[in-house]
Point group: C2
Chain length 660, copies 2
């Protein structure tokens, strides 16, 4: 793991510059309006019909908290990774029942558990709106004026579409502003948990094996989309092929890669290497330390912190891999001054990890933005985005005050340590007190834990909010001007310039390459292709697949010590499992974070596996794809059926998957 998308701070969303020209044979994350038909034909002799493409697209699902998935039965059954469902599993658990640790299986539909705040999206249509978005930029406009004009037009298009179609409507920028597309999604917000293995089974090998291969993980979960209280009728779903894909076979992936920076200039790469990565890693490590300390307080605290620890470890390992992938001999400069500034800016935060602080901040911004005309609002607060925002703001997902207090303390302490006592932001939020004191008073005093209270604040509007004495709201109000300043500075001095410059370069690239190249990833639906194949590794060959034998070998090799321990049912039922059954496999698929849970599909459009990770060699994928060694790691379709039948006594579910 984990191809789950990381959330990037806005400052780090550098817009891509054009620099590279060629595309390797199996490289590319292609949009469905421009599939790689020529490459598929030339290299694999495969020409998917439009019907094939539409069917795959309509079977693909976006998990809105950062992953991908697909429908695998006509009755709304969707598959994704365990680590994509992790957050929902945790929210459905409590001190008495821990579905993360113990797994979950609903033997009947009545037992399926409703997720607290999960939205699934299916891409219904794509419409090119480039001319309309670019058309609003008039000669003589400054960069900032042009950016505002485009943002306004995008918001108008989204709102018009929402009103007329009632579909979620997003205008997405591709090719660094070279094209704009209106993507319309059907949303499912009643999603219920059907099955998940124990986390140890899904994440066997833990952080050491994360982002590596050979692997032995059953990293999948099954959920069901409901409409009107009944399982959704999903006409488009992927038929299950329990034989999987053979070594050397063409496979395709339809999923939502979160972001890439393949077109960065040398100067931008240098900035990433010397400033952004080191700073980000250091900050993540500080936070991980605090969260681990919280988890050490007891088993229930450990359960609450599990998803965040996983996410931070995952991010740190991924960033470290990406960072090590940048050739350190290429540059020798140090720009400590800029690094220092960036570290300071990043430290002006009260909400790194804290749900309550995040909710307070969003409510404060919401109330301010909602008064403005739609086109002038900050991104995330447009009319077309309010449904999704409220779904999150009013979610009944559990909040753990003790954990919140620990997270807020760490965040405030980090600001103090990084910025010093005389920093105006620090003075504003701490007001001479210690971070722990502020955190305790704020978390213990706030009523934001209650969704109804949050709803009353949002509905009360500006006056009610200004009058509120809720300590978390007070803290968010204090911090708000700093965030607004930061955002304004960023838009004026960075974003508008980069977007405009990027658009110019993108136009120049179009003139040369047209759409023979693919756009950087944007967490929108992409089609990727490659071959099931091993690769040279550490002096020998990594095989294209692993088997259940390997799971037992690796566990026994480490004397069954965590993170290489097996759940008791795997020990008890060892002799029932057909050990040569393929467990995981790799293919030369160009994927990245956000692709977690994507289906692996054969040329017949059948489901043969589910993406859950990339190998260590793929960690440079943010910047470049190296076909010789870059591999996506997937759970084999046969392993899921074998486990459901032989280990989990879930034959009815296996039957539903294979269609009888």
């Amino acid at each position: 793991m984990k191809m789950r998308r990381s959330s990037f701070p806005v400052l780090l969303l550098l817009i891509a510059f054009a620099s590279s020209t060629g595309v390797a044979a199996d490289e590319g994350m292609w949009t469905f309006d421009n599939p790689p038909l020529k490459q598929l034909k030339d290299r694999y002799g495969f020409t998917p019909a439009q019907q094939w493409l539409d069917h795959v697209r309509l079977s693909s699902v976006r998990f809105n908290d950062g992953g991908s998935g697909s429908f695998v039965s006509p009755n709304g059954l969707a598959i994704t990774n365990h680590h994509v469902a992790f957050g929902q599993l945790q929210k459905l658990s409590n001190a008495q029942k821990d579905y993360v640790r113990d797994g979950f299986y609903a033997r009947t539909q009545a037992e399926e558990l409703k997720c607290t705040d999960l939205e699934l999206d299916v891409l219904m249509s794509m419409e090119n709106v480039t001319a309309r978005v670019q058309g609003v930029v008039k000669p003589g406009m400054t960069e900032k004026q042009a950016l505002d004009a485009r943002k306004g037009e995008r918001a108008r298009i989204e709102k018009e579409s929402l009103v007329s179609t009632h579909l979620r409507s997003d205008v997405v920028s591709l090719y660094a502003g070279g094209e704009y597309w209106l993507y319309r999604y059907k949303k499912y917000t009643d999603v219920r948990l059907v099955f998940a293995p124990e986390q140890q089974t899904a994440f066997f090998g833990g952080d050491p094996d994360n982002f590596t291969y050979p692997r032995y993980d059953l990293d999948f979960a099954l959920l069901r989309a409901y409409e009107n209280g009944r399982p959704a009728a999903t006409k488009d779903y992927l038929r299950w092929n329990a034989k999987g894909a053979a070594d050397g076979e063409l496979v395709l992936v339809s999923g939502h890669p979160g972001g890439t920076e393949r077109e960065l200039t040398l100067a931008q790469l240098e900035t990433q290497r010397d400033l952004i990565y080191p700073e980000r890693l250091a900050r993540n490590k500080r936070q991980l330390q605090a969260v681990r300390a919280y988890a050490a307080r007891g088993p229930e605290q450990a359960r609450q912190a599990a998803d965040m620890i996983f996410g931070l470890e995952n991010t740190i390992k991924a960033f470290t891999g990406e960072y090590n992938g940048m050739d350190k001999n290429l540059f020798d400069k140090k720009r400590t001054e800029e690094a220092d500034l960036r570290a300071k800016v990043a430290s002006r935060s009260i909400s790194s990890g804290s749900e309550l602080a995040g909710l307070a901040r969003q409510i404060v911004v919401y109330v301010a933005e909602i008064k403005k005309p739609d086109a002038e609002r900050l991104d995330g607060y447009h009319d077309s985005q309010l449904d999704e925002l409220k779904f999150y703001l009013f979610s009944p997902a559990p909040i753990y005050p003790e954990f919140e207090e620990a997270l807020l303390t760490q965040s405030l302490q980090d600001s103090l340590d990084q910025l010093g006592t005389n920093d105006s932001f620090v003075m504003a939020v701490l007001d001479g007190r210690q971070p722990a004191e502020v955190a305790a008073q704020t978390v213990r005093g706030t009523k934001l834990k209650d969704p109804a209270f949050r709803k009353s604040l949002v509905e009360g509007g500006a006056a009610a909010l200004a009058a509120s004495t809720d300590p978390m709201i007070v803290l968010a109000r204090k911090a708000d001007p700093y965030f607004r300043d930061l955002r304004k500075d960023y838009e004026e001095s960075v974003e508008s310039v980069l977007t405009s410059a990027g658009e110019k370069i993108a136009k120049a690239r179009f003139a040369i390459f047209g759409k023979s190249i693919y756009p950087d990833a944007t967490f929108t639906l992409r089609l990727t292709y490659g071959t099931v194949q091993g690769y040279p590794m550490n002096g020998t060959k990594a095989p294209s697949k692993t088997t259940f034998y390997g799971l037992y070998d690796r566990a026994a090799s480490f004397d069954f010590k965590p993170p290489f321990n097996l759940m008791p049912r795997f020990i008890e039922r060892k002799d029932k499992i057909d050990l040569p059954t393929p467990l995981n496999f790799v293919a030369s698929l160009d994927i990245i974070g956000g692709n977690s849970g994507s289906p692996v599909i054969n040329r017949n459009g059948e489901f043969v596996g589910i993406i859950f990770d990339g190998n260590i060699e793929s960690l440079t994928g943010n910047f470049e794809y190296i076909e010789e060694t870059n591999r996506a790691v997937a759970v084999h379709s046969a392993a899921i059926i074998e486990a459901l039948r032989k280990v989990y006594d879930a034959a009815p579910l296996a039957d539903e998957l294979i269609g009888h």
Copy 2:
């Protein structure tokens, strides 16, 4: 694999210079006169008694064709690697019975097969003769005179010892001439094959997995030393511990590392990287191509060529790893002129791989050298060395004329290609004809295939040899002056200078470090220690051991395709084998080629495994030992017992090993 010793051309035997100073915690190949008592005590709290050291030494066996082993029963039973016994297995096979492919098991002592030319040595005593060897060098001597004087004195010491003790007597140089020791060995020349698994079982994973880990190889063979036609009574032997060593446990290795170059100067390392390695790799690859072409002619040819193909692949992989371990950014020079010269010199050979050409060459040299006073002869032809030489010269081991012809053709063609038609050596040996023609005429016409004919030539002396019209002898006579010139040049311009300079530096190092450091490896008995432990590998952890599960996983992962196929008996008896049984394991032991077959011993002096390889990270071991990742790879003692009992129906042998 393979820790089998490579034979280095004399030109490449650069004498070590002093440069490094420190020794890592588990580093070192220590002589038995100077065991690492302080390190063992400080790090492991272990103080072996003198009796422990003597017992381990007397249980250790040197396989004179390039490996190590140990006695493991009181009845002369010795264990080594399959790949050390490979040559003997091949010599005992023929077109009808192929013990390399099919394995071998003597169910009774009567069925044990006598090896054709295998000598086992046991180190009985060590005597410091430094003062005597260095004492013959007088003030005013040139470097060459000093070298000759030392060589003469060494030969005298060896001969005196041989006459008085009837033990094989070698004066060995340690610490680059800083010390000279007289080592006396008890020899066993009647050695019989008892058991060997199929090569595919011993070398599962083939060249891809060679020099890597995790591994799943049963790389062992059992032989029995005889004296006077009866199994030798070997009072000193290692008791078998079928539990093996635990993760984190101290283990020790007693074996014969072939050679290291740990003290090379920067300039010498540069020479290795820029000249010696590339040239040697290119030459080995040319030869491998020719040998593979020969093997492709048919199954019997493939059988004949198998050991040589294995050896060349093994050498190429090792050299490539060593070469890649040298930091290429360190230097940027190219000394093509010197490289060219070295390539030419190396090409003046007729005997690369051809047994007959090698025999002819040795007979020609033998007859010339034997006339001289003992002290003045070339090394290898001293009185004390004649027994061993004759054991080889008169061996009844089979010779395959068709293979010989292919090898000689390749060697002559290589000389022609590298040196051109006008080279005096090429003109002398080819005389205007094509390489294939010369090879055919020479191999088909020679009677050297017959050991009796070789004996008659040796006993006939100079006159008989000069009169011989045997075409292989004629060819060897033509080539002889070139080899003599080359050797003389090397001694005068390189060896005498380097030995003398090395001795000076070694003396300087002694003044500083004394024997707190260990001497470079010299294929003499050494003691090495380390911990059973995994290591960081490719983004995750390699475990300290593997299990039989892993064998089946890796085979199934590659769909049982060679070199990952399993012998039928492993398929048939899968359910009989206790799959969690440890198969291979790793420890931070400082070993190198020549250590193949060395016993791994616990603090009780018990046998817990047998060394058969190093991991890919250990391939820089010739130049440096890196404790974090350098690992020796061994077969686990439990795996050998499990395989003998459950797979090979060889319970009596397992009983003999475990002592009941």
